[in-house]
Amino acid sequence: MRTGLKETGAIIFAAAILYAMQRTTPLYSNITSPVSIAGEQGKRTDARAFALAVGDVHLARTVRIERFGQTRTYTTSGVWVLVEAAAEAKRESLTLTSAEWLGPSGLRYSLSQRISTMPAMLPAERLEPGLPKPVLMAFEVPENELAGGTVLVAPSAFTPLGEEVRVAITELAVGDIPGAVTIRRSDGPMPWTLETE
């Protein structure tokens, strides 16, 4: 009788352990997820291979881009999020091809491919060690995913255990979204100017 009780106890114990192990095993995507480096808006964040500083973040219903005397209008069904930043390679020349807007509910918004042809867009800029470069990022995000968003930047979206800089966006005027922002090329210290209407 006593041995029976003992055996039942052992089986229950084993089942409990197996269940706990099954529930707590990290997902494959967790194991291979990038190593994140947290940063603040307005400050330089240093990863091993690159450094990033996120400056102003502008919102707009439409984006106009002036190039070669022509103006193209880019609409969105959400809101345009334009992120002004500076980036620099540290050890070796590289290109930061992956950037995401992580909404407060955990949804991820990749860079909009619509205005990717504009110069100074992050995935098109080759970064050289020792030469910080101003870069622009453009996202299309629905209004309810704006406040409390985070910008994630990495050299590539698919490298397991790669580096990823996360910058929480704290300064963002969500209440008052301008109708249009015009981006012009500039020969000044910044390669573009942003004009809000």
């Binding site: 095993t25 997902l27 494959y28 995507s29 880019y74 609409t75 969105t76 069904s77 959400g78 995401e100 955990g106 949804l107 991820r108 918004y109 990749s110 909009s112 491919q113 619509r114 299309e140 995000v141 629905p142 309810n144 995913e145």
Partner: protein
């Protein structure tokens, strides 16, 4: 052979038997279920235009089909071509921007010499890239229709589905995996008048 040894032997034999019978029963049940499902397959429901279809990863609503000589970009190709265009609304229900809608639906039955369609964003008149979660988009799929093929009067589309697995069976990775088609859509094809250049 001592009494103790004989009893352990019997216990072992019993355990083997139980495990073997259990395994057999499981295999038989699984086989029977497969056979049952194959013989009693539910027909894929036919869905009318305008009704939303939940494919798991996407919610898609077909609006209509038409033919034309101008692709959705609005610029006429230098050589005259015929396009078959299907308009639909697409809502990304997953957690990340994705452009995996390209293989979601197909012409049924498949036509071999028709190439895969190009996808356009209607509001932008430009080739669509990823569709963002929570931002439904009005899109157009355009097939370049070969001259040798007659244009269909009615278009049947088969819409596939996908499910999300937190751990897939091979690597334990998370992802979307193809499942059986969830809907057949029949769309009448509106024919555009053949217009000459400059009209």
């Amino acid at each position: 052979m001592s009494v103790g040894q004989r009893s352990t032997l019997r216990q072992r034999l019993f355990a083997f038997l139980v495990a073997g019978l259990g395994g057999l029963a499981a295999a038989a049940a699984s086989f029977a279920m497969t056979v049952y499902e194959a013989s009693n397959s539910r027909p894929t429901p036919t869905v009318a235009a305008g009704e939303p279809i939940d494919t798991g990863r996407w919610v898609i609503t077909f609006r209509g089909a038409r033919t034309g000589s101008v692709p959705p970009t609005g610029t006429e190709p230098s050589q005259p071509k015929t396009f078959l265009m299907v308009e639909f609304d697409l809502d990304n229900r997953s957690a990340a921007t994705s452009n995996a809608f390209a293989s979601m639906f197909d012409i049924d039955p498949p036509i071999t010499d028709v190439q895969a369609p190009a996808f356009y964003l209607a509001r932008d008149k430009w080739i669509a890239s990823g569709v963002h979660p929570g931002i439904p988009e009005h899109m157009i799929a355009a097939w370049e229709w070969p001259k040798a093929q007659p244009l269909p009067q009615d278009l049947r589309l088969v819409v596939g589905s996908q499910i999300y697995k937190r751990r897939d069976n091979l690597y334990g990775g998370s992802g979307w995996f193809d499942r059986d088609p969830v809907a057949i859509v029949a769309l009448p094809v509106k024919t555009e008048m053949v217009v000459g250049p400059g009209q």
